[in-house]
Amino acid sequence: MALAVAGVLAVFLVYTAVGGSEPLLEPSNLAGHTGKVSLTGKVVGHVQKSGGTLRFKLHNIQGASGLVPVVYRGAVPDLFKTGREVNLDGHLDGSTFVSTSMTTKCPSKYTASPSSSA
């Protein structure tokens, strides 16, 4: 029985290491990462809306360093605005981060689930 459990555990490790995960980054350490990543940061400055595209800048949630321009296409999740903490799935294209999937964190420090759209 213990072997079965250990075997199952091994399956997780292999599965997640190989395919399932992607790096969780902040604007300050985004540079150099190719491929799909998950970026978390705070929206700063003015948000430009044109057509179905949002353009804004992101910096670290804490420490306010690293400024990354973001181009986002897709459904805008609830509570998105300047100053909100967001999480974006996408990739780095040159020096701009391109994304089609975003979630926002609830403003209160202790609340239930965040709002999201994908």
């Binding site: 029985m1 079965a4 459990v5 199952v8 555990l9 997780f12 599965y15 997640t16 399932g20 995960s21 992607e22 790096p23 969780l24 980054l25 350490n29 998950s38 978390t40 057509g51 179905g52 949630i61 804490q62 459904a75 805008v76 999740p77 609830d78 509570l79 998105f80 605005k81 909100r84 903490e85 799935d89 926002t104 964190k105 609830c106 403003p107 209160s108 420090k109 202790y110 609340t111 239930a112 689930s113 965040p114 709002s115 999201s116 759209s117 994908a118």
Partner: protein, 652 residues
């Protein structure tokens, strides 16, 4: 008044500490008066915590902004109901709620069992006292709800998304669940320390565990419905760490509820049950820890609140303590009997346990992955939906199947012949259902098809069981009344099946499209026709400032008639939010779900249109689950009398 609150909490802390220390001494030295005194202290602790809670509640209702907490979570124009709800809207208040529920459970359980289980209660008191000591310490020294300030003119108010009935019900219900798992844990620890590791502690805590599990389960469905209606992304579960935080202890508790039946009948799996109950409790605390500290949302959250550190410490100490206890008592806990046959109900329970725990650990791994990778690889990596869905299928679908097979297998040993005879109807039903489903196009999703077929199998099993039982007993009511645990369990299984069908339908077979419509244009989606009629702009001023609601009206045709409104609300303070339009087709149990995504400059609107088949079965499942749990929970006066008589007889 804040002084009273602080004082009451300090008294709670003192009483809890006394209950822990005096209780331990009394148990070791076998001193009745001291043990009773410690027990009274635990009860008094509830009352002093209640006073503190009343102080906070009063301040909230009165909008007394000299309380920092009241200032942070209410405002002058907040209604009374939501001002009270703000009690658990923040860190300190929710901790106070935790302590209140904990001391309430503690007081109730020790008073109700004070004569029947003295040998266990004498240890349960110090264990619950110790846990209450931790939480009251946090409230007194680290996160006090009674910080004061010179009162500003108005408070910050409660976030609008929290001002709904769900916020009133969802957190307290979850707490009744999380905290309720402390009871079986405390009894398990008491059983191990006292050396009375037989089934008595399990029988004593069975209803408490069932109750906590029921609240935790229903609380999660409430939360899912809240997300579906309010948050408006078309889904109800996102495998978010906070959601998983409640699911993991629930899975562990489900495994525990099943495996104790084996211990009660065969005296087996005692070590496993101890591990399970400790796991369920630790996961409940861990769940609370994740939700509070925010550690898994952002790897830097540790710095945000020192409370995370305290919770982590508590988690480590209690886990090490439990492990040490189990190792110490291993000789007492070792099984005296073996599994008789791989084809027995004991065996199916064992398989069900392995699957439940495996799923629980898979989710835990997913939750911890970002933290572990950050620590050991230097770079945090996050795990997405596909991982969780994969393991939900791998472990969940066999579990679904087992739910059907288990009830049909007898205890101890079943012959293949007898089993196949029992399985005739369910297998037949599954095959028929499968064929019909494939003909109806359900073959587009393999996991969905499997889920549906297995569900048909399980539902038939339950019906067969009910029919057989009613034939033997004469009436369905009598049958259920005499075997509340078993048939309550079957009703819960039916609820899980409904849940599985609802989840399969609304995820595997949903339609999700984007359509851009100008006024007058029509979109045809899955049998529905939607015509964009007109746009309304509604400016309002709420407590969170100005907001403008842009409401689109759609005319419906085809499967549904009438109009549907869907809105995009832009608040100057908070940003955009959606008020989605949902049209429920009760006959088909499906929803037409429309999100107003974007207004274009040329007057057209991008709508996201979802058709979610069978989604309403998920909510129905919640109620069936509640009903089944209540049936299983229902107190049995005869059983209680028997236990009392037995104790008297044993005393001579």
């Amino acid at each position: 008044m804040a002084d009273l609150g602080r004082a009451a909490l300090a008294v709670s802390f003192g009483l809890a500490l006394y209950a822990a220390c005096a209780g331990t001494y009394a148990a070791l030295e076998k001193r009745r008066r001291l043990a009773d005194s410690a027990r009274n202290a635990l009860v008094a602790c509830f009352f002093s915590t209640l006073v503190a809670a009343a102080v906070l509640a009063h301040a909230l209702v009165e909008h007394n902004f000299s309380f920092v907490y009241v200032y942070q979570h209410t405002s002058r124009d907040l209604s009374t109901v939501y001002s009270l709800t703000a009690f658990w809207g923040g860190q300190e208040g929710s901790l106070l709620l935790w302590l209140l529920v904990l001391t309430a459970y503690g007081a109730l359980v020790v008073m109700l069992n004070r004569r029947l289980l003295r040998d266990l209660i004498v240890w349960v008191v110090p264990v619950m006292g110790a846990i209450a000591t931790f939480f009251s310490f946090i409230l007194v020294a680290v996160a006090s709800p009674f910080k004061t300030q010179t009162p500003p003119l108005d408070g910050l108010g409660l976030v609008p998304s929290l001002q709904n009935p769900y916020m009133v019900a969802h957190p307290p219900m979850l707490y009744l669940g999380y905290v309720g798992l402390t009871v079986p844990f405390a009894f398990a620890v008491a059983a191990m320390i006292s050396g009375h590791t037989d089934e008595r502690w399990i029988v004593a805590t069975r209803r408490w565990t069932l109750g906590a599990w029921m609240f935790l389960g229903f609380g999660q469905i409430l939360g899912a419905h809240w997300a579906y209606i309010e948050v408006g992304w078309g889904g109800y579960y996102g495998w978010d760490p906070v959601e998983n935080a409640a699911l993991m202890p629930w899975l562990a508790a489900t495994a525990f509820l099943h495996s104790v039946m084996i211990q009660e009948r065969k005296g087996m799996l005692r070590v496993w049950n101890m591990i399970l109950v400790a796991l369920a409790y630790e996961l409940a605390v861990f769940g609370d820890f994740i939700t509070r500290s925010g550690i898994v949302n952002s790897i830097h959250s540790f710095a945000q609140s020192s409370i995370g550190g305290w919770f982590l410490g508590f988690l480590i100490v209690t886990t090490l303590f439990s492990i040490t206890l189990i190792i110490w008592r291993l000789p007492l806990l070792k099984a005296r009997t073996k599994l008789e046959s791989a084809l027995s109900r004991e065996a199916t329970f064992l398989y069900n346990n392995l699957l439940l725990v495996a799923l629980c650990l898979a989710i835990l791994w997913g939750v911890l992955f970002p933290i572990l990778t950050a620590e050991f690889l230097g770079q945090a990596r996050t795990i997405g939906r596909p991982y969780y869905d994969f393991f939900l299928h791998v472990f969940g679908l066999p579990l679904l199947l087992l739910m059907g097979i288990g009830p049909l297998i007898a205890w101890r040993r079943s012959s293949v012949r007898a089993l196949l005879k029992s399985l005739r109807w369910p297998i037949g039903a599954a095959l028929v259902a499968g064929a019909a489903l494939i003909a109806a196009g359900a073959g587009s999703s393999h996991p969905g098809l499997i889920a549906y077929t297995f569900s048909a199998f399980v539902l038939t099993t339950i019906v067969v069981e009910l029919v057989r039982g009613t034939r033997a007993t004469g009436s369905l009511m009598l049958l259920i009344g005499r075997n509340r645990r078993r048939y309550g369990g079957y009703i819960v299984h039916a609820a899980v099946v409904l849940l599985a069908i609802g989840i399969a339908g609304s995820s595997a077979y949903q339609t999700n499209v984007e359509r851009t419509l100008k006024p007058g244009q029509t979109a045809k989606v899955d049998g529905y026709t939607l015509t964009y009629k007109k746009l309304e702009t509604i400016p309002t001023v709420t407590e969170s400032g100005k907001q403008v609601e842009t409401r689109a009206l759609l005319g419906l045709g085809g499967r549904a008639k009438g109009t549907l409104a869907t809105s995009l609300i832009n608040s100057t303070l908070l940003g955009p939010s959606h008020a989605v339009g949902i049209r429920t087709d009760w006959l088909r149990a499906q929803d037409l779900y429309v999100i107003l995504e974007q207004q274009n400059a040329n007057g057209s609107i991008i709508f996201q249109i979802l058709v979610k088949p069978l989604v309403n079965l998920v909510w129905l499942a919640g109620f069936v689950f509640l009903g089944g749990s209540l049936v299983a929970l229902w107190p049995d006066a005869a059983e209680q009398r028997r236990l009392v008589a037995r104790l008297a007889l044993a005393r001579g």
